[in-house]
Symmetry: C2
Subunit: 303 residues, 2 copies
C-alpha cells in the first residue's frame, strides 16, 4: 500500500495520521474543529501539511451522513455544515485521491484491519460518544448502504415511549447508551453530573457506581442484541470515551447481552471487546481506505 493520510473530524478536534508504506503511524497532527464548512476544508488541508503528507492519498472521516460522492449531507454535531461536497473541495485543494466516509464507518475499518477485530469478517463497531455511531463489516465487506448512510444506529428506537431525543423522535438508543446518557445516570445515582464520575465510582467498587454502570451496560446490550439478530456478527468493538471504563463496562455489558439474547443456546458466542486504536481508529481507517483507493486509481490509470 502507498503511504496515505487519514483524518478524523471530531466534535472538538481534527486528528490526522500519516501511515507509511509499512502501514505504521509515521506522524500525527491535530487542530481544533472549526465551525464552518470553509473552515473544515482549510483545517484538513492544514493537517495534511502538518503531517508532511502532501502528494499522498487522503482519507477523511466526518461525523454525519456522507454520500457516495463524498458530500457531507448532514452533520448534527457540526451546525452550519449541510450539503458540503467535502471530497470534491479537498480534491481541488490537494490534487490527490480523496476518500470521505462517515467517521464511525472509517473507525470500523481501522479496528477491523489493525485493531480489536483484526481478521474478523463480521464486525460491528459501536462508538459511544455524544451520540452513538456505528460501522459494519459483513462478509468481509465494509457496509455503506445504498446512499452511504448505513450504520446510523444511534437513533434505533428501543423505547417508543421513552424520552425525547434532539432528533425530534422518542426513545432512541443514544438517549440511554451514549456517553451523554451516562452523565444522566450519574445525576440519578447521586454521582454528580458527568459520566466520568460513574466510571470512577464503578472502578473503585462504589455500589452506586456499580449500579449505575450496570444500568448503562444493560441499555448498551439492548442495542447490541438487536444488531446481532440482524447481522449475525462475531464481534462487537465498543469505542468512545466511556470505554475508558474497560472491564467495569465490558463485563456487565457481556452479562446483559447474554441474558437478553434469545436463542443464545443455539448461537455461537459473540465477543464484546473494547476498541484497540483509541482516538486514532477513524484516522487510521480513513488512511487505509484512501491508500486502497489510491492504489486502485494508479492501477486503473496504468491499464
Amino acid at each position: 500500500m502507498p503511504a496515505a493520510v487519514g483524518i478524523d473530524v471530531g466534535g472538538t478536534k481534527v486528528l490526522g495520521v500519516l501511515l507509511n508504506e509499512q502501514g505504521q503511524v509515521a506522524a500525527e497532527h491535530r487542530v481544533p474543529t472549526p465551525s464552518t464548512a470553509d473552515g473544515l476544508v482549510d483545517a484538513v488541508v492544514a493537517v495534511v501539511a502538518g503531517l508532511g503528507g502532501s502528494g499522498h492519498p487522503v482519507g477523511v472521516g466526518v461525523p454525519g451522513l456522507v454520500d457516495h460522492e463524498g458530500c457531507l449531507r448532514f452533520a448534527p454535531n457540526l451546525p452550519g455544515v449541510v450539503d458540503v461536497p467535502v471530497r470534491a473541495r479537498l480534491h481541488d485543494a490537494l490534487g490527490v485521491t480523496v476518500v470521505v466516509e462517515n467517521d464511525a464507518t472509517a473507525a470500523c475499518w481501522g479496528e477491523r484491519e489493525r485493531g480489536a477485530a483484526a481478521g474478523a469478517d463480521d464486525v460491528v463497531v459501536v462508538t459511544l460518544g455524544t451520540g452513538i455511531g456505528g460501522g459494519v463489516v459483513a462478509g468481509g465487506v465494509l457496509q455503506r448502504g445504498a446512499h452511504g448512510f448505513a450504520g446510523e444506529i444511534g437513533h434505533m428506537v428501543v423505547d417508543p415511549n421513552g424520552p425525547r431525543c434532539p432528533c425530534g423522535k422518542r426513545g432512541c438508543w443514544e438517549r440511554f447508551a451514549s456517553g451523554s446518557a451516562l452523565g444522566g445516570l450519574a445525576r440519578r445515582h447521586g454521582l454528580g453530573d458527568r459520566g466520568e464520575a460513574v466510571t470512577a465510582a464503578a472502578l473503585r467498587g462504589d455500589p452506586d457506581g456499580v449500579a449505575a454502570m450496570a444500568e448503562f451496560a444493560w441499555w448498551v446490550a439492548i442495542g447490541l442484541v438487536n444488531l446481532a439478530y440482524l447481522l449475525d456478527n462475531t464481534v462487537f468493538v465498543l469505542g468512545g470515551g466511556v470505554i475508558d471504563a474497560g472491564e467495569a463496562l465490558l463485563g456487565p455489558t457481556r452479562e446483559a447481552f447474554a441474558s437478553l439474547l434469545a436463542g443464545a443456546a443455539h448461537r455461537p458466542p459473540v465477543s464484546v471487546v473494547g476498541a484497540a486504536l483509541g482516538e486514532r481508529a477513524g484516522a487510521i481507517g480513513a488512511a487505509l481506505l484512501a491508500g486502497a483507493a489510491g492504489a486502485a486509481e494508479a492501477t486503473g490509470a496504468a491499464s
Copy 2:
C-alpha cells in the same frame, strides 16, 4: 440457469416449485408440514418427486437458524427439529446439489430477483406471519451473517418493558407487528380475535378497523425505521398473510415510517411495498439459489 427445484417449508405446508431453464414456474406441488425431522426430509423428497424434479438442483427454505452447512440448528415453530443436517440428508437422498437457507432469506432473494424489489441492490424483506422473519440484500449481496443466522429481526427489542415473548425476553418486535399481534389488536378493538377481522374492517372503512390497522402499522414502522438506520436500504418488501390488507396496511405504514424516521429531510425516500411473489417467494428464491449453486458446481467440476 439450469432448471431447479425450490421448496419452502412453512408452519403448515411444504410448498415446492419447479423453475424451468427460462426461470418460469413449470410446476407446483405441496404437502402438509410433518412434525418430525425424518418426516421433513421425506416430505421434501416427496415434493421433488411430485414436481417431476429429480436430477435438478434443489433449494430449500426452512424457518429457523440454518448454518452455512445447511444444518437446521433451531426452529421455534417446528418443535422436535433441532440440529438436523438437512442439506447432508437431502443430498444423500437425492444425489443432487442441495442448498438450504432460512426461509425469509430465500424469500428475500426471490423478491429481489423476480418480485417486488427486482433490480434493487439494497433490500429488506420483512415477513409478517406467526412471528417476523427477515432477509437482507446489501450492495447486491444476499446477507447470511457469520453463521448463516442473519436477518432474525423478529426479536429485535422495541420496548424493553413490553409484553413477554415466547422466546423468554420482553418487548420483541414480533409481539407488536406480526400477524399474531394483529389478532391481539382485533381483540382490543372489539373486532373478534383474528387479524383477518382487522383487515376486513379496515378495508371497508370501519373506524375501529382503521384505528387498529394504524396502530399495527405504527409498530411495523418502528422496526422498519430501525432497519433503515442500520442498512440504508432503498426498499422494504412486506410479506406474510397480513399483506392481504394491501394499501390498508401499506399506506399507514408509509405514513408512520415517514413520521418516525429521524433526518428524513436529508435522506432519499425509502419504498415500502407489498411482496409480489406471495406464498411462492421462498420457493422461487430457494430454486434460484439452487440453480446458481448447481451451475457453479458444474463449472467447478468441468475446470
